[in-house]
């Protein structure tokens, strides 16, 4: 059941310290939502600014007010993301809401030159409309990188690498060691099965546990309980 690493959002990166870390890259859907939130914030900010300048224009002159507005619009439209990506969280407010951040492909924090490049090239990603190029590029790269990300060597990742919570799941089975050595992907599959099983109907659970009949040697409810036993064994740290 271990498949080729085709569609995995966990991207391995080898650090200079000789260790491999895994980054969880974020896909186009969640990034679009983050972008929409940013767009709304952007619009509201400009609108508020416009109101303020409208009221102060009597004092500083209409032309000056228009000029200030144009300067702010220029800075915001080209450097909104850069300003926030240089912040401590490396994320725009929208990305922060969605739990995302921008990082180097190497896992290091994004740097100013990278941030400028990826955001200047946003206009190309937007072409011909609605981030079409960006989306196509995302779908054809392993790490969901749009064109700007490719040139800047950056990725958008989930900010907090999720630490799996070991909820005490009430399963009436005894932990049981698997008869084979399982790969990490297989172990992860078993553990996630155990974690997510309460959300599924019994028929669905059985259907899924039947898939690993070669491992459990059983089908139906017996197979399900063996699957749970194996999962439980792994969850307890693999030592009974």
């Amino acid at each position: 059941m271990a498949s080729a690493p085709l569609a995995d959002t966990l991207q391995p990166v080898e650090l200079a310290d000789g260790v491999e870390i895994h980054l969880r890259v974020a896909g186009p859907a969640v990034r679009s939502v983050a972008w929409l939130i940013d767009l709304i914030i952007f619009g509201i900010t400009l609108f508020v600014l416009w109101l303020i300048l409208l009221f102060t224009s009597a004092g500083i002159g209409m032309q000056t007010a228009m000029g200030l507005f144009m300067l702010c619009a220029f800075v915001m439209s080209w450097f909104y993301n850069v300003i926030f990506e240089m912040g401590k969280r490396s994320a725009t407010p929208g990305q922060r809401t969605m739990g995302l951040k921008v990082a180097s492909v190497s896992g290091a924090p994004v740097r100013l030159p990278q941030s400028i490049i990826r955001n200047l090239l946003r206009v190309i990603d937007f072409m011909p409309m609605g981030y079409m190029f960006g989306l196509i590029c995302c779908l054809f790269t392993q790490r969901f990188q749009r064109l700007g990300d490719l040139v800047a060597d950056t990725v958008v990742v989930y900010a907090e690498p999720k630490e799996s919570k070991t909820k005490a799941i009430q399963v009436n089975v005894q932990p049981q060691a698997p008869s084979l050595v399982l790969t990490r992907a297989e172990q992860a599959a078993l553990l996630q099965f155990l974690e997510r099983a309460p959300q599924w109907s019994d028929a669905r659970k059985v259907e899924l546990s039947d898939v690993i009949e070669p491992l459990t040697g059983k089908t139906g409810l017996a197979g399900l309980s063996t699957t749970c036993s194996l999962g439980l064994w792994l969850q307890k740290g693999g030592n009974g």
Binding site: L15, I21, G67, M70, V123
Partner: protein, 322 residues
């Protein structure tokens, strides 16, 4: 050693690392921060061990998160600030321009050939220029530089309008520079189109003014800011072409690596070009519309051209250059 044993034995170290990392991230590092690199390397080692011995996803994920945070904290760099900016403006950028001699002349040709052609040809046959400018463009030209105007006219009445125009030039001209750069990602085609069109448009305007307006008003207005502004256009085209060439002709690298490397070189060029154009916007906003007699304007213009070209060709000159 069982996973549980491994975890209980090392957990204090991980917790210590986590505490130190939290402190640094919060901006309040304690004196113990010196232990950080050591603890980080140990945690990396633990992660490798846990991965290799398959100690289960929970433990591996936990250590993975620790390693990512540690790496992020240790890799955080402090930018050079003003010193870095000075270095970029007076050394790195002009050097980068000189290093791309071929691209420089290519982009000069892309911009200046259509410009010269239309500027010279239009007085004989204004139809091309007219169709490029359109009726609104022609009306605008005649309003600003028409036969009835003279260089001594006040073009703007107050400070406010000067500032307003300055802001407009930043918004418009620097925006065009940035787009010219970005257009390079389309294999250079975007940059070329913008440069050609820019050259043609400005050339058409110049030619049309010779045909129908008062050239003296025009030249005394543009003299001061033309040098940094037009060279900014050319160099932003170079930045775009650098990016486009990385895509079209990656050389010894694969395309993705070539793009990353090309992007780094292009960034220096576009930053400099944008700064030049912003500088031009300052002159255009606050100097060019002042009612000084044309000889003064032309002198300033000549000085600006000398300074601009001198800056590009001489600033931060490589020591070993022949």
């Amino acid at each position: 050693m069982t996973p549980a044993h491994f975890e209980t034995e090392n957990a204090p170290r991980w917790e210590r690392l986590q505490t130190l990392l939290d402190e640094v991230e919060a901006g309040k590092p304690s004196a113990d921060v010196e232990e950080l690199p050591l603890l980080f390397r140990q945690a990396c080692h633990d992660l490798s061990v846990a991965q290799h011995r398959m100690y289960g996803p929970r433990l591996v994920e936990k250590l993975n998160a620790l390693a990512i945070t540690g790496y992020r904290v240790l890799e955080r760099r402090i930018s050079g600030g003003w010193e870095r900016l000075y270095f970029l403006v007076f050394r790195e950028f002009p050097r980068a321009v000189r290093a791309e001699r071929g691209l420089f002349w290519f982009c000069m040709a892309q911009f200046w050939l259509p410009f010269l052609f239309l500027a010279i040809w239009t007085p004989f046959d204004p139809e091309w220029a007219m169709s490029i400018l359109g009726p609104e463009g022609m009306i605008q030209m005649e309003m600003m530089y028409g036969r009835g105007t003279s260089p001594m006219d006040y073009m703007r009445e107050e400070f406010g309008s000067n500032f307003g125009m300055f802001a407009f030039y930043i918004w418009n001209n620097v925006g065009i520079d940035l787009r010219t750069f970005a257009g390079g990602l389309l294999g250079g085609v975007g940059s070329i189109i913008i440069m050609l069109f820019n050259g043609a448009h400005i050339g058409a305007a110049t030619g049309y003014i010779h045909h129908a307006c008062n050239p003296e008003t025009f030249y005394s207005f543009v003299a001061g800011h033309s040098a940094p502004e037009l060279m900014g256009v050319v160099i932003s085209g170079m930045a775009g072409m650098r990016l486009g060439l990385a895509l079209v002709k990656p050389g010894p690298y694969d395309r993705k690596t070539a793009l990353v490397l090309g992007g780094r070189r292009a960034l220096v060029l576009i930053t400099g070009a944008a700064l030049m154009t912003a500088f031009a916007a300052v002159i255009e906003g606050f100097w060019s519309a002042n009612p000084f007699p044309p000889p003064i304007k032309y002198t300033v213009g000549a000085v600006m051209w000398t300074l601009t070209l001198g800056y590009l060709f001489l600033s931060g000159k490589e020591r070993h250059a022949a």
